[in-house]
Amino acid sequence: MGMGLEVSKLTKKFVGQTTVDQLSLTMNRPEVYGLIGSSGSGKTTTVRLMLGLIEPTSGQVLWNGRPIRENAKDVGYLPESRRGYSDIKVLDQMILFAMLHGLSRKEARESARQLLSTYGLEHTAKLPLKRVSKVDRQLVEILEAFVHRPDLVFLDEPFTGLDPVGAEKMDHVIRQMREDGCYVILSTHRVDKAEEYCDDIIMLDHGKTILSGNLKQIKRNYGHTNLVVACDVDVTDTAKDFGMELIEKRAQETEYRIHGDDEANALLAHMLSQGFYPTKYEIREPSLSEIFMELTGGETE
């Protein structure tokens, strides 16, 4: 029996439209797996299919070799823009979610108290959620999804609606889950966040998988890298002569697309021979945003 998450040719068709088309992914080890795409690309539908909230037209999802619905106690889910029960005490609602995932009342209470203590929220336990400060409330609403300490976690646009403090706490939670050895599916249009956490990614566009695999490998295989130059003299025209394409001109530096290290070395040699000494000369991999924009022709945040 395979361990981990296995998604095979998952497809969902609604009337006249294929929302998710033959999506496959495998998670054999604890990691953060990015599910990336712009709005309407099928991310949320994919997450709901994987959770068993909606029936697929075809394909299957297995967790540790069994249908995911049979493993509810191992699964945590944080939907987009989720809020808690405003009139109910924090501890009571955390206990509810924990018990629904198979914990006994005692276990649920202990787990909830421990989690609140870990994040400095003990003072909120007996308060109705509406009486908790906004910052603490955001964190409580996040933690309710994981109070039962699941092994597999689905995060659907977890940063939506969070203020900077809430976003920072979300960052901390994701990092903690990585350290705790969770399997995490991070569904987001925030490509920068995916780049920050994810080892593997799958990129969707109108339901179709346009890119998938290990992030580093994807960048390495993408076919080009970028060059960042900071110099007192504008070398844009010179860079063009060397076959480089201008990506962005910023106040302090300029970024070019290059097709190999040789191009960058040739330009540097020319600059030095002309007496132009750059203060910054960096070769780096393309960002995931650039890859996404190139593949989809769209914009990301």
Binding site: A72, L78, P79, R82, G84, I88, L96
Partner: protein, 438 residues
């Protein structure tokens, strides 16, 4: 089952100790206590007013001297004015035939005074006879009857009958017939009327209380469950619940909690109602001449049957509200979605009460239909059960039909809930739900 129980306990705990359960319960108990006190206050008020009137009359009004000559132990007095003797022996006929009213001869020049007295005293009535209009084809005297309201004083029909017979007797006597013959000519055949259905006023009033509480519970708890579903959907909690619990489990847990609270509230109000009746309503108190009686009337089987129909009624209408609540994704859209259910409940409650009131004149088919139709049976059956006009077999059949309907609706509501739980945005229509494919 375990998840159903978890959600049931969670919902029960977080609703039963909150204002929206405690306050309405207290309010209903207070209303029942006040209504139970009403007969006592009413009788006390009448006694006080009678004493005041009697005290005023001892200051030298002619009326007091007249009433002192009439029979004692009467429930009220009636002034009779026929200065012209248009109905010979009319006063005597009234005095002989109105057992519970003391009839007193009055004077026409005090007509306005009598009218004023009657308006201020529910125990007083006025009858005055006027000459026929000269232009009228039929030259008969007109009898005018004045009481404070339709529930008090002399009975119009009785007075009309007595004075008509007195007048005809006088006409026949003028034609030379003896009193024996005039009595014979106005003879009425003795009749005996019996109702096979025992319309107990107490039973009707108790059933009315049950129906009112039922309607309140249908509205309040139906609304509560729909609000809960809409809130969970708008806050996305529903998606989290659905990962670990089946839609049917979620609905059953919530529904069971609401039903338990409704039954608990119902029992509290009914117990207070019974206690209020037993301790506060004066013995022998009557409404419209019918005595309120509770003892040896409501059996434990009737009480149990009433609770069963109350419970099934709550479940029936709550599942309709679940279907309505599942169609929306925002609480603001809820009232529009629930309106049809509330309107149906209002109409069915009123119709059931009217059918029960007009029990003798509605057709048997109507009564049977009202007993079996799930929309009406929760409101109609309490009348039949507490009125003592239904057999155990009929009660059981009605309960089974309602239970089957509830089961069907529960199944349907779970399907609708599942089909709509991931829908956000505009309010859905039923055809959208039917078209939706998972």
């Amino acid at each position: 089952m375990k998840n159903t129980w978890i959600i049931f306990l969670f919902t029960l705990k977080n609703t039963i100790n909150r204002k929206k359960f405690i306050v309405p319960t207290i309010v209903m108990v207070a209303i029942v206590m006040i209504v139970s006190l009403f007969p006592y206050i009413s009788e006390w008020s009448e006694q006080t007013q009678s004493q005041k009137k009697a005290a005023a009359q001892t200051e030298g009004e002619n009326v007091t001297q007249d009433t002192s000559s009439v029979k004692k132990n009467v429930s009220g007095y009636c002034y009779y004015i026929d200065d012209d003797g248009l109905i010979p022996n009319g006063l005597t006929a009234l005095q002989n035939n109105l057992d519970t009213i003391g009839v007193v001869k009055g004077s026409g020049d005090q007509l306005e005074f009598y009218k004023h007295m009657v308006a201020g005293d529910r125990t007083r009535s006025l009858i005055y006879v006027t000459a026929p209009d000269k232009d009228s084809k039929v030259q008969l005297p007109t009898v005018h009857i004045l009481t404070r309201d339709i529930l008090t004083g002399v009975n119009e029909s009785d007075v009309k009958d007595i004075l008509s017979r007195a007048y005809i007797s006088s006409l026949l006597t003028q034609q030379g017939l003896t009193s024996d013959i005039t009595d014979l000519l106005q003879l009425e055949l003795p009749t005996e009327a019996t109702n096979t259905a025992n319309m107990q006023l107490t039973g009707y009033l108790l059933a009315l209380a049950v129906v009112l509480v039922s309607f309140f519970a249908v509205y309040f708890y139906g609304y509560s469950i729909s609000v809960s579903l809409a809130n969970e959907k708008s806050s996305r909690i529903m998606e989290m619940l659905a990962v670990s619990a089946r839609p049917r489990q979620i609905l059953m847990g919530k529904l069971m909690a609401m039903v338990v609270m409704a039954v608990l509230q119902f029992l509290i109000v009914m117990v207070v109602c019974m206690l209020g009746f037993y301790y506060l309503v004066p013995s022998g108190y009557t409404i419209l001449g019918l005595e309120l009686r509770l003892t040896s009337f409501v059996t434990w089987k009737q009480a149990l049957a009433a609770v069963v129909f109350f419970t099934l009624g709550i479940m029936f209408y709550s599942t309709l509200n679940i279907i309505a609540g599942s169609m929306v994704s925002r609480v603001e859209d809820l009232s529009g979605a629930m309106m049809p259910v509330i309107l149906i409940a209002i109409v069915m409650a009123i119709a059931s009460s009217l059918i029960a009131l007009e029990n003798q004149s509605v057709g048997r088919a109507v009564r049977i239909a009202a007993s079996l139709l799930p929309l009406t049976s929760p409101f109609y059956m309490p009348y039949r059960i507490l009125g003592g006009s239904i057999s155990a077999r009929e009660t059981l059949i009605s309960a089974v039909v309602l239970l089957i309907s509830v089961s069907f609706l529960l199944s349907l509501s779970a399907k609708v809930y599942r089909a709509t739980m991931l829908h956000y945005g505009r309010r859905l229509r039923m055809r959208d739900v039917i078209k939706a494919k998972q």
